[in-house]
């Protein structure tokens, strides 16, 4: 098995007194695509924000390549090679496309590689090259998603976490975005942790999935083995009584 890149163990995150993530453990191996699925409000976004340092876990451990990052500032964690594309993408609308990409390079200590990364980004996403001096706010939803991904790549991050890349996009464009992500994984050896609402799509593109419901992981397993599993559907839709754990990822 490939080495573990990100390991989250027994993490709790609270909003005030209310736990939003309970005792969550998951791991992401190098060059893997892992999807986290679950209904709204299950704590998926909170989990990503906590891993990226935008929120601080109340308990538990987060290790990136074996190094603990709990309690570290987001800008520090970004420098360690994680890039988070949060829900809604958060493009800097007042900046141009190219300026957005340059901000993306802020975590990149190696300033000389910035020009290189910029060229790569434009070759992967030609539409961005066309509109490089246009305001990012004028891009369409799909283009903004591409910009968000390109921006995340600018730092040279090895692990990209994406919160609902399909949000606000037409299904066809969403498929395209996932195709690009799969391709990037193959060509540049990226590791991806993706939140996705659509279980079918998650199974199609990921190596493994986790299902998060009511702030807890209720299911995890290898996507290929799970296409038709009944357990999975009951876990996702909350039909089953006890949380089951296939444990294929352990």
């Amino acid at each position: 098995m490939a080495e573990i890149m990100l390991q989250v163990s027994n993490m709790w995150v609270h909003y005030g007194q209310v736990p939003a993530v309970r005792n969550l453990s998951l791991e992401v191996h190098r060059n893997e695509i892992v999807c986290v699925v679950g209904p709204n409000g299950a704590g998926k976004s909170t989990m990503l924000l906590a891993v990226a340092g935008a929120l601080t876990p109340t308990k538990g451990e987060v290790r990136l390549n074996g190094v603990s990052v709990v309690g570290k500032a987001p800008e520090y964690i970004a420098k360690l090679g994680i890039s988070l594309i949060p829900e809604g993408r958060h493009i800097f609308k007042g900046l141009t496309v190219e300026e957005n990409l340059k901000v993306g390079a802020a975590a990149n200590a190696d300033r000389s590689s910035v020009e290189n990364n910029l060229r790569t980004a434009y070759s992967v996403f030609p539409v961005l090259a066309e509109r490089r001096h246009g305001a990012a706010g004028m891009l369409s939803g799909g283009e903004q998603q591409q910009l968000a991904i390109a921006r995340a790549l600018m730092s040279g991050a090895r692990l990209i976490m994406i919160d609902e890349p399909s949000l606000g996009l037409a299904p066809k464009i969403t498929e395209k975005v996932f195709e690009v992500l799969s391709e990037l994984r193959r060509s540049s050896g990226l590791t991806l942790l993706i939140i996705e609402q659509n279980l079918k799509r998650a199974l199609k593109y990921s190596d493994r999935i986790y299902i998060l419901r009511n702030s807890e992981i209720v299911f995890s397993g290898r996507s290929a083995e799970l296409q038709a599993s009944d357990d999975l559907h009951s876990a996702y839709f909350g039909l089953g009584q006890a949380p089951s754990n296939v444990g294929a990822g352990q």
Binding site: A54, P74, L84, F92, G94, V103, G104, A135
Partner: protein
């Protein structure tokens, strides 16, 4: 008549430039930090008072003001920048993430403290400061007599704005600062160091306040412990009509307010002239009612480029 009009316009341009600088200082801090800094006016006061030696005499002895021009300018900007950074450290940083109301009251209190420290050190007497008297000599041009200082004011304001624009557009710090002012959390997630960007914005805001205090001190020849207040309020009104938080909008808004204040001053009938500020504020409040998002639609302008 034509002469009076042209003189007024030149006057208006120079005040417009001055208020644009003040509004930029305020807009920068609001843009990056979401801090409504009511102490900005008192930063300006500090800059002006750093020119003279603390005393209660009416005729002031020059302190920084006695230095040769380049050192004088750098010294003044440095003093105000330090005061701004110190304010950030002691007041704004502990309040990061607090409600806007809390921050507003805190900055109001900060301004009050600074103002009264100046009062303690220098007394409440306005003091004459004669900086560069040669600049008040008029300069003949096409039948007009323009004080050199006004030309300097307009030029300095324009240069500073160009420099700031270049910094914000072309340098990586500038781009990161603009990104942070739009969405600080996202910028941090991308590795932009929040504290560095914030400190830089605070320092720039302070330096702008320093520039404003130098111009005002030269122009009026008098400094007083309450001098910053009205400038700040005009500038604030400028940032509001400029759409809050947009730097270009702030500068344009500040310019508009300064410009119209001079025009009002020149063309209001004598008996209502004393109410100029009241009229101006009332006008601005009315404008805001009609256009709550501000008068200058920078965002759409920018997005259409």
């Amino acid at each position: 008549m034509m002469g009076y009009f042209s003189q007024t316009v030149i006057d208006a341009l120079s005040w417009g430039g001055l208020y644009a600088l003040a509004a930029l200082g305020i807009g920068l801090l609001y843009g990056v930090l979401r801090v409504i800094n009511f102490a900005h006016g008192d930063f300006i006061t500090v800059g002006a008072f750093s020119l003279i030696v603390p005393s209660t005499q009416a005729t002031a002895q020059l302190a920084l003001g006695a230095l040769p021009a380049p050192l004088l300018i750098i010294g003044t900007l440095l003093v105000v920048t330090l005061v701004a950074l110190l304010s950030d450290l002691l007041v704004f940083r502990p309040l990061r993430g607090a409600t806007p109301s809390t921050i507003m009251i805190a900055s109001f209190a900060l301004g009050y403290v600074i103002q009264n420290i100046v009062l303690l050190l220098y007394s409440s007497r306005p003091k004459a400061v004669d900086l560069w008297p040669e600049l008040n000599e008029a300069f003949g041009f096409a039948g007009l007599r323009i004080p050199q200082l006004q030309i300097w004011t307009v030029t300095v304001a324009a240069l500073l704005m160009v420099a700031l624009t270049v910094f914000l557009k072309a340098s990586s710090y500038g781009i990161e600062m603009r990104a942070a002012s739009e969405d600080l959390r996202m910028a941090r997630l991308l590795g932009v160091r929040a504290n560095r960007v914030i400190a830089l914005a605070v320092a720039l805001s302070g330096a702008l306040a320093g520039a404003v205090s130098l111009i005002i001190a030269t122009q009026s020849g008098v400094v007083s412990y309450q001098m910053g207040g009205p400038v700040m309020l005009f500038a604030f009104i400028g940032t509001i009509i400029g759409g809050m938080g947009s730097l270009v909008g702030s500068a344009l808004g500040g310019f508009a307010v300064g410009f119209s204040s001079v025009i009002l001053q020149a063309y209001l009938p004598d008996d209502i002239r004393p109410f100029r500020d009241a009229i101006l504020f009332a006008l601005v409040i009315l404008i805001l009612v009609i256009r709550p998002q501000g008068l200058i639609l920078v965002k759409t302008m920018r997005e259409r480029v």
